[in-house]
């Protein structure tokens, strides 16, 4: 009823608004979309036109290993992050205001610490002469240092650490939106606490879990800094592999093909995600 369209009387004002809206889009289209599209095109034109670069997916063992590593680490990270993140979000929803404020503060603050600083800290903690190994050896629990970093374990620890806030915050928003009378209602109808959780609370939080899982997966697939530093050149995920093709072996065609595949996978996940939740909401920090 009150949704009456705004006046179109001030047409010169209207032109200004169009300009305001379209100028940033033109800026991005020209300087962002065109360069990215250029990479996609290069995947079928460099070094020579054709699908030779894509054939590497079937023939090149290094490419296959990299993709497999990326998927495996992405899946492990996503699984761990969801498990821990769900528990944290659940605790946040069910804690008192003081406890919630402290926990949320820690989550949000760690969100903002740069990936580089965190990777640095993990190296300091986990390397063979690092803090964890020194402490364990000093207490006599181990004789020789454990290998905790520059391997898959180190990469997963670093990635879970980086991704946890990305999962906790949307999960918390989702769980907080669940009517808190529903579980008591289920209990009043005869469900045990575990039944009430499994039959009522968990199904209602499924969209949040899927959303958080997709976000973590999207970021994990393209992740560069943490795996590059904590993997120490032994664990190579696709982003680092692409980087090496450009800066060391100068194989632009192969790099462009892998970038296209990576972008394709991410866009598919985003499209799928948009069926469950508002993507914009999910990307907001």
């Amino acid at each position: 009823m009150s949704a009456v369209a705004p006046s179109q009387s001030a047409s010169q004002g209207e032109r200004l608004y169009w300009l305001m809206m379209l100028l940033p889009c033109a800026f991005l289209a020209l300087l962002y979309v065109v360069p990215v599209l250029n990479v996609l095109v290069m995947s079928v034109t460099v070094p020579k036109p054709g699908l030779a670069n894509y054939a590497e997916l079937a023939n090149n063992g290094a490419v296959q290993r990299t993709l497999w590593t990326t998927l495996r680490i992405g899946a492990i990270t996503t699984g761990l992050v969801l498990l821990i993140g769900y528990a944290v979000a659940y605790a946040l929803v069910h804690s008192g205001p003081r406890e919630r404020q402290i926990l949320l503060g820690i989550v949000v603050a760690s969100f903002w610490i740069s990936a580089l600083i965190r990777a640095f800290a993990w190296i300091a903690l986990l390397q063979s002469r690092g803090i964890v190994n020194s402490a364990l050896m000093a207490t006599g629990l181990i004789d020789s240092p454990l290998s905790l970093v520059r391997n898959e374990l180190g990469v997963v620890i670093g990635m879970v650490h980086y991704m946890l806030p990305y999962a906790i915050l949307p999960l918390y928003t989702n769980l907080r939106g669940i009517d808190d009378r529903l579980v008591p209602a289920a209990r009043a109808l005869g469900a045990t606490p575990s039944q009430a959780f499994r039959w009522v609370f968990l199904p209602l939080s499924l969209p949040g879990l899927i959303g958080a899982g997709v976000i973590v997966m999207i970021f994990s697939l393209g992740f560069y800094i943490t795996p590059a530093i904590l993997g120490g050149g032994r664990i190579i995920m696709v982003a680092e592999f692409i980087s090496v093709q450009i800066s060391e072996t100068l194989r632009w065609g192969l790099a462009a093909m892998l970038a296209t595949v990576l972008l394709g996978a991410v866009l598919m996940l985003v499209t799928w995600l948009s069926r469950f939740m508002d993507v914009e909401q999910a990307l907001r920090k």
Binding site: M1, S2, V4, A5, P6, S7, Q8, S9, A10
Partner: protein, 372 residues
């Protein structure tokens, strides 16, 4: 604020000349003609989607009519942007500026007109006084109650002596007691400032108590324009009769028409009805509206005589309303006739037989609304 009540010249201050509003295929407002007199308190009354807000927003300049003109004192203002119209608008939910104090909210229209300093201060203090807000000048909107916010919105729209004041459901967020209070207050402020008030509401009580004239709308068109009493006594259509208060609708065949009166034959009884210009002709179908409070009930042994405006039925339901009771009387053909009678005077057991009767001028012919 210069115009006193006695100097009210009866002239049309605002004319809607065939305005119309379409959104694609959807017609929000059909071609509308409306003349509003200077200094008048006119209410646009209708359910949601009736087009009343479209009219208001067109007058204010926030919606461009798809066709037609809006004339102010003969001047075409249709294409004028809202800020050049000099109309005050009290919005639904008030739309107070949350970052400005009460004083600065009221100062806003003066600032936009380049009025500052002592001249502005005098006007602002006067407006705050009229709205009984002098002690709240330095508070912020969120620190005020709903009623106080309403007063700020009013003061803000009156401080610059607008040509018209447009009010869009201003009381819808307030509780019943405050609504009553503001109905009285709007009337007295209207008398005091003499500005034309155009008031939009879906509440029939607000419309009836405050307005000089009511414009009743439904589905994007005006059904009737009349002073409150006339609208109630002589509704033009079944919708008007049903929207303002309750009404029985007696559908029958016209037996005779003469001198603005008709006789209507129904199943087993007949009634007289005033003809308010429906153009009914003998032999045609017609419908008469009959207010429940005009129906008298009597036990069969007490009811003498025969003739029109008299029918027998049995009590099918009773609703207690306090001073009165509403009785559902089932007639011979199964139809229900509503009668509102003083409480406690008749034994109204279910199934009891009663004779209902009404005066010759109690019923009035109305136009049948097309099915929605």
């Amino acid at each position: 604020m210069g115009r006193g009540t006695e100097s009210k010249v009866v002239k049309d201050s605002l004319v809607l000349d065939g305005i119309e509003k379409r959104y694609g295929d959807f017609v929000a407002l059909q071609r509308t003609e409306l003349s509003i007199k200077a200094g008048e308190f006119i209410t646009l009354l209708g359910p949601s989607g009736s087009g009343k807000t479209t009219i208001l927003m067109s007058i204010a300049g926030f919606a461009n009519p798809s066709a037609g003109r809006i004339l102010l004192d003969g001047r075409d203002v249709t294409g004028l942007p809202p800020e050049r119209r000099n109309f005050g608008v009290v919005f639904q939910g008030y739309a107070l500026f949350p970052h400005l104090s009460v004083y600065d909210n009221v100062a806003f229209p003066l600032r936009a007109r380049g009025i500052t300093g002592a001249a502005a201060r005098t006007l602002i203090m006067a407006a705050l006084e009229i709205a009984k807000l002098d002690t709240f000048a330095h508070r912020y909107p969120r620190q005020l109650s709903g009623g106080q916010q309403q007063r700020v919105a009013l003061a803000r729209s009156l401080v610059f002596s607008p040509e018209l004041l447009l009010l869009d459901e201003p009381l819808s967020a307030l509780d019943r007691a405050l609504r009553k209070e503001f109905q009285t207050e709007f009337r007295s402020i209207h008398r005091e400032v003499g500005t034309t008030f155009i008031y939009v509401t879906h509440d029939q009580e607000e419309a009836l108590t405050m307005s000089d004239r009511i414009v009743i709308l439904d589905k994007g068109r005006i059904l009737q324009i009349a002073p409150p009493a006339e609208l109630y006594e002589r509704p033009a259509t079944t919708f008007v009769a049903g929207f303002l208060g309750k009404s029985n609708f007696l559908r029958g065949t016209v037996a005779a028409v003469a001198d603005g009166r008709a006789r209507l034959d129904l199943a087993g009884f007949s009634t007289c009805a005033l003809d308010n210009g429906t153009g009914a002709q003998a032999g045609a179908r017609a419908v008469a509206a009959l207010r429940p409070e005009k129906v008298r009930l009597a036990l069969p042994r007490d009811a003498g005589g025969t003739g029109p405006g008299r029918v027998t039925g049995t009590v099918a339901g009773v609703t207690y309303l306090g001073a009165s009771v509403e009785v559902e009387l089932r007639l011979a053909d199964g139809q229900i006739l509503l009668a509102t009678v003083p409480a406690g005077q008749l034994p109204l057991a279910d199934g009891a037989e009663y004779v209902a009767s009404w005066a010759e001028d109690a019923a009035i012919l109305v136009r049948e609304e097309a099915a929605p």
